[in-house]
Amino acid sequence: MSKEMSLEDLSSIKGATHSKAVEELFNAIKNAPLPAVNNDFNNNAVALEDLRPDEVHNSSELEKKLIKQNFPKEKNGYLVVSKVIEN
């Protein structure tokens, strides 16, 4: 079995395939020399002492109501999902 997944599977988009325009963009990167810089720039990494606390916030009743209102399919107040156990 091939280790590579198809673009269709990777993207979950039917008929997904390479685009000529995008390929042209990527070729410019492939053909460029690798710069001699550290690519791990991480400018916006948060300092340990500045990390926000690991805590749970309860949503407001209105927010919960709106989240439920957005369910694509709902039954008795619960989200109905497609069958997840498959052969």
Partner: protein, 465 residues
């Protein structure tokens, strides 16, 4: 142009107009407009808030500068209880469960949201044609595009339908439509304004900023929406902007990228006008220095490789299981694929597929990781350039706005048209489009966290031209 916010504030305080009348007039104009700039009107919410402002004025209470000022919101921000469609089929019926930090801060200051504005779907585009609500028409010529992706926001400000609008800028989405519609648009330093509640496109360059008809209004809005936010750990604490103190020409060194100006794709008139601006600055005693842009050949590719990778990851959450439109199928996998195939536009699919391609095994090293290294090099070059100059000027776009219908047929040309805006996004630098100098304006860029200098220089430039 003087501050529209201050002008309206004075009219409200002096009771020359009621807030309800003001809001109703703007809502009527938006409802009637033929520019496709509106996705959803927020009439009930806006009129209710206007009544509260009127009651305060009638009671003789003081109102803040932004109180009662009507503004627009690009339809990629969440506003609790209101639609947030990202101009997509996917989210056309989605209702925001909470409110974006920048929008909440404006509401807390009393400003009144009027409209969710048309844009390229999920920010994917440079013309505001990639939308289910119809291509946004340019405020000055309806046959031309409004620019993108915050096209509806720029058109609404240019036509006076909103006093200011809040846009999102990932690779030029505030600055380019501002230039195309001849208004001001600021992409602040990355992290100055919280991204919480903005639908994520390219999280490492996404910025929230204002579009307005004056520098004063840009500043007033920025001083409300900026600041550290618990919900966005990339934000930083910042001082209020104050561009009132004039700059001295002797203390400014202006740079411009000669590689940008010698680009064969640059319109001859934009080039001529840009160089004329440079000459006028020299005549005012400003020291001007041409600089090389060393990554010009790979700039667009670097941006799009990273943007596509990040948007593929960010939009993986849209599968129709928790929210949005769902296409039912016999299996979960088939349901995901059908939902995503029907929900995304062709341009969004192109970017998601490209992103998954660069992140996949066998391509990550030669494209994604190399693009990250190229970005680091670009940032390094900016740091060095800003040791030699205090301000960098550049055109906003290589050409004038194209005719509606031409750009989506040629995606590569559309990507290349972003060449002057995307570098400053990769550099996280504050950049303002000022509608002066060339037919699509001038970009003013300064070093990171020098947003105030950007606005001060804009005032200096306008006085000099």
């Amino acid at each position: 142009m003087a501050s529209e916010i201050i002008k309206i504030h004075e009219k409200l305080v002096n009771k020359e107009i009621s807030c309800t009348q003001l809001v109703q007039e703007k809502l009527d104009a938006l409802a009637k407009n033929q520019y496709n700039s509106v996705n959803f009107l927020l009439s009930d919410l806006a009129l209710e808030k206007a009544k509260q402002v009127d009651a305060k004025i009638a009671e003789g209470e003081k109102i803040g500068l932004l109180e009662g000022i009507p503004f627009g919101v690009k339809d990629v921000f969440l506003l609790q209880g209101q639609h947030a469609s990202a101009s997509s089929n996917f989210l056309k019926n989605y209702i925001s469960p909470y409110t974006a930090t920048a929008i909440q801060k404006l509401i807390d200051a009393g400003a009144i949201p009027l409209v969710k504005e048309n844009a390229d779907s999920f920010g994917h585009g440079s013309t505001s044609e990639n939308t289910i609500f119809g291509a946004v028409k340019n405020a000055h010529n309806e046959e031309l595009v409004g620019g993108g992706s915050s096209g509806g926001s720029a058109v609404n400000v240019a036509k006076g339908y909103t006093v200011f609008s809040i846009g999102g800028d990932t690779g030029g989405s505030i600055r380019q439509p501002a230039g195309f519609n001849k208004v001001y648009g600021l992409k602040p330093t990355y992290g100055r304004v919280s991204r919480y509640g903005l639908m994520a496109y390219t999280s490492s360059t996404d910025c929230v900023g204002p579009i307005a008809s004056s520098i004063e209004d840009i500043e007033l809005v920025m001083n409300v929406i900026s600041g550290k936010d618990y919900h966005d750990q990339t934000t930083y604490a910042s001082e209020a902007l104050d561009s009132s103190k004039a700059l001295d020409a002797k203390n400014i060194t202006v740079g411009y990228y000669s590689d940008f100006i010698e680009n064969k794709g640059l319109d001859a008139n934009i080039k001529k006008d840009f160089l004329s601006v440079i000459e006028k600055l020299k005549a005012k005693g400003v020291n001007v220095k041409p600089l090389p842009f060393k990554n010009a050949d790979t700039l667009v590719s670097t941006y799009y490789a990273l943007a596509m990778a990040e948007t593929a990851s960010n939009l993986a959450r849209l599968d129709g299981s928790m929210y949005g439109e769902r296409a039912n199928a016999d299996s979960l996998k088939e349901s995901y694929a059908l939902t995503r195939s029907e929900g995304f536009t062709e341009e969004s699919k192109r970017r998601i597929v490209g992103g998954n391609q660069v992140l996949s095994q066998g391509h990550a090293d030669e494209i994604y990781l190399k693009a990250r290294a190229l970005r680091a090099q670009i940032m390094d070059h900016f740091n060095k350039d800003f040791k030699e100059v205090s301000v960098i000027l550049s055109p906003v776009s290589p050409a004038n706005p194209p005719k509606i219908g031409n750009s989506l047929k040629d995606p590569l040309a559309m990507y290349l048209s972003d060449i002057y805006t995307i570098g400053f996004s990769l550099g996280e630098l504050p950049t303002l489009t000022a509608p002066v100098g060339t037919s699509t304006g001038i970009q003013i860029t300064t070093a990171k966290k020098q947003d105030e200098l950007t606005l001060k220089f804009a005032k200096f430039l306008i006085a000099a031209l």
